[in-house]
């Protein structure tokens, strides 16, 4: 199916950019006339993925986060969030609800569970030492 729109973003892995990232993705899909709940779902999922890049991918050190978002003819939105950080050794374990490597930071370990619950599909590609790409897919207008 044809891609009708796309955008790219890159920004430093600072926690103040979490709000910017979800706001930018949300502005990008506004033209698709999403419901309040669809918009909130995608914003929440993006926020989780970007936080993962900052806290886990780059372990709070400086790095760059890349977002690529695209819209297909059928209003399916794909958002790829990528870091070039440490990567994930065991993706299955990382995706387990309540699993976290940062309990001292009060991370609840719910990031992937929230992404999965708020999107239609979530894909994770990662290699230790190379980084992680999370792909969020959500169809806008499926609610009605």
């Amino acid at each position: 199916m044809k891609t009708v729109n796309q955008m790219r973003l890159s920004f430093p892995s600072k926690s103040r950019n979490e709000a910017f990232a979800r706001g930018a993705v949300s502005a990008f899909i506004t033209a698709l006339d999403p419901t309040v709940s669809e918009l909130n779902d995608l914003k929440t999922a993006v926020s989780e993925a970007v936080t993962n890049c900052i806290v886990h991918g780059y372990r709070r050190k400086n790095g760059t986060i890349y977002i690529y978002a695209s819209v297909r003819e059928d209003n399916t939105v794909t958002v790829k969030i990528r870091d070039k950080g440490v990567g994930i050794e065991d993706i299955e374990q990382a995706m387990q609800p309540l699993f976290t490597t940062s309990p001292e930071e009060e991370r609840a370990g719910l990031g992937f569970a929230v992404m999965q619950s708020f999107c239609d599909k979530v894909r994770v590609k990662s290699a230790p030492g190379k980084g992680t790409t999370v792909t969020l897919i959500k169809k806008i207008g499926a609610d009605e």
């Binding site: 709000a19 929440t44 989780e48 900052i54 009060e106 990031g111 569970a113 619950s117």
Partner: protein, 100 residues
């Protein structure tokens, strides 16, 4: 970002705006600082004016739950908007009996 109120041994925190990993760190510091100096019997977190929350909010609540236990008090979470409740429901927080 947040208003607090203290009476009858209850510290009420009115959360406001967006709760993410960035703001949760600051909110946590503010609440813990007040709780340590006032030693309330009950900490009440009011979510009525929260417009956005990701799972950082769950960490914030769980952390305050533990903190209040250490201080010999308890926690209550109130006025949670529906779209935010969904994340709390996923977290198992319901079983702690703090949600109202």
């Amino acid at each position: 970002m947040l208003k607090t109120e203290f009476n009858n041994n209850t510290l009420t925190v009115y959360l406001d705006g967006e709760i993410d990993h960035d703001s949760a760190c600051k909110i946590r510091q503010r609440i813990d600082c007040s709780a340590r100096s006032l030693c309330p019997r009950l900490l009440c977190m009011n979510f009525e004016k929260v417009s956005f929350m990701d799972s950082s909010g769950v960490g914030l609540v769980m952390g305050r739950y533990r903190q209040m236990k250490l201080l010999g008090g308890s926690l209550r979470v109130t006025n949670v908007p529906d779209r935010i409740y969904r994340i709390f429901a996923m977290s198992g927080l319901e079983e702690l009996g703090v949600l109202r």
